[in-house]
Amino acid sequence: MLTDGRFDTSTLALDFPLQPSHLAVVLQVAIPVLILLVTRRSSHAFAIAGLFSFLGLAAAVALLVQQTRGGAVISPDSIGELPLGPGIDVPLHLQVDRLSVLVAVAVGLVSWAVQLFTRWYLYSDPRYRQFASAVGLFTAAMELVVLSGDVLLILVGWELMGWCSYLLIGHESERPKARRAAYKAFIVTRIADAPLVIGLAILSLGAHSTGIDAILRHWSAAADAHGTALTAALLCLICAVAGKSAQVPFQDWLPDAMEGPTPASALIHAATMVAAGTVVLGKLVTLLELSDTARVVLALVASISMVGAGVLAFLQHDLKRLLAWSTVSQVGLMLLGLAVVSADQTADLGIAHLLSHAMFKALLFLMIGWLSVVVSGTTVERLSGALSKHPEARRMVGIGLLALAGVPPLVGFVSKDLIVDEAARRGIDGDFTARIAFAALICVVLLTAAYTMRMWLILIHRTGSQRVQVREWVEDSYDVQDVGIVEMLTDLPQVDIHGRPTDRTAPIELPDDLELADQQPGGGARFGLQLLALLSVVGGLLVLSPMLDVDWKHPNVWLIGASLLLMGAVGLLVRLMSVGTVYGDAAARVPLFVRASASRGFAVDSLYVAFGRSIVALAQAVSRLDDVLDRGVQRLPALSATVVRRADRLHTHRPTSGLVAVSVGLVAVGLMGVILW
């Protein structure tokens, strides 16, 4: 198909309408299409999903190589330019630059790993096909956002991701909680998206084009003239980003999203949905630097979410939710990375952290999924000591947690430290935003250390007996998820320090872990996990590559040292707190009611519910009003009937009445003639 002239082997440049950038999206789309059209069997579905998501990854990698060798097409067309008149041109083209390429690869990689893992995780699920398709579509949407050079395409991918998250979270739709979580996730993000359309309208109509490059060009020039418009547009965007990235005040949908199967959580949290906000703002970061208001708002939102989420993460009783909150916190970190960059700088800091976060967070979620299958549950009681039997799992979880905590030289450390450095540097230069960011960053560094430490301690805690009672108390994973965490906290059977129940004397038989031992993912899945783990370790080297343009040569050694010391101290503190607790849970020292309300996310949900209630009340009022309107219309016949009855009474069948009518008419007509004359 390809002649030599069309394919340059050195730069891999490809003179052909179909570019790797297209393939990165299309191959992922092919998964749902093929699965829904071709097959009805899970095994075939897995074959398709695995193959095509790998191909998609391959396409992304090819694109990366092209990019490095300078053979990539900068802005390939997608579905063609829309003819919308002279007022605006809608190129709908893609845009390939180094950052987007990197993110694309990361997305493809995570998605592939998730596909591999899902097969094992949902082996006996009748709806595996739908799940795999949704994952494919989800990845495609994210790749579209990453690679798009047109705000409308961004919008397309953006909304599609929301929809896929709805499908994935609601996968086990037999469970009311899953249904509710899916509904909540979609509605909350959709509400936050309402301003997005407006913001994009402002930007693109101002620039008379929806192409990102044109928008950047126009607004960089017109920033002084139309500063307010720019700020308004950016605020709209930030609102939408806060929604998708679960920042304040939209944060509460994310922990609920844990109702979805763990692979879905991995996908949503690691690479795709929550990261999309960072990607989009990264594309427009030059505009962000032009509007201080927007930067401050972004920094505030990110800082508050970051710190608050860190606290909540430490107090969570469900470790999966702990990871969820940590995601919120980490995404806030990325956004700060965008907020603190100085002018004439690109979004590398944020993107770098996005990449590293993608690696270790995917790893952690998949591991939690694995463990949750092993111990059938994700609460502290279940997972306490789960790692004691699986060295492999232990290694990977350790790597993941270290990366999350930002311990050198793991990837998390590199990316996070770069942001902290930048914030410090600009803070010293006297940039207000950077100062807020720096303060928040310090808190977060410590909080992260705290909750990672706590999680680690729980996981490696060595007591078997308590888990028995928990297992008696909750039968299987479905129920675990249905049991209100808070109830579990309050009415668990009391046990003493050695885990013997205070109220029962029967001998406790230790659980036979044989049936647990073989519960580990297949080779493919494990390979994916190991790959992620590897990248979490060495991914930091990426900053040395020309792909990322970050200033790594002058690290602020003192700052690093100080933060490491503090982290160590916090770790020690947590260890001390955990000593003597039943499940090795440091948070157990915190009063119960605090933990309870923290597990509820400080009851933000009730606010959402109240909001929804008010809307429904309004809706009821409107429909009542409409009934009134309708009844009014329907009363017209009756009205005419009464008129007719009146008229009928005038028509006595007497000749005289006719005569009277005639003379009346004569007079009336006469008057009319005279008056109007």
Binding site: T652, H653, R654, P655, T656, L659, V660, S663
Partner: protein, 101 residues
Amino acid sequence: MIHSALPMIVVGLLFGIGLYGVLARRNAVLVLIGVELMLAAAGLLFVTVGSLTSDAMRAGQVMTIFVITIAAAEIAVALGVILAVFRARGNIDMAQAGERE
């Protein structure tokens, strides 16, 4: 045309009286008489105007004769109908409601 005022007034009176008769009377024959009065008013007006204007065709007088003739024809039909009514009802009360079929 001051000397034409009197006939005009008479015309008005006749027409008014006739109309009143039509409205006030219940007996069909009296109603007929009322109509006759109104027609007479019309005829009078014709004559008056005709006498005032010089018309080659003597339209005024001719029209009066026309009106009288038509009136006669009407009365013929009217009496016939009234007779039928009297046969059917036994009275010729105009204020009595007709029956629906």
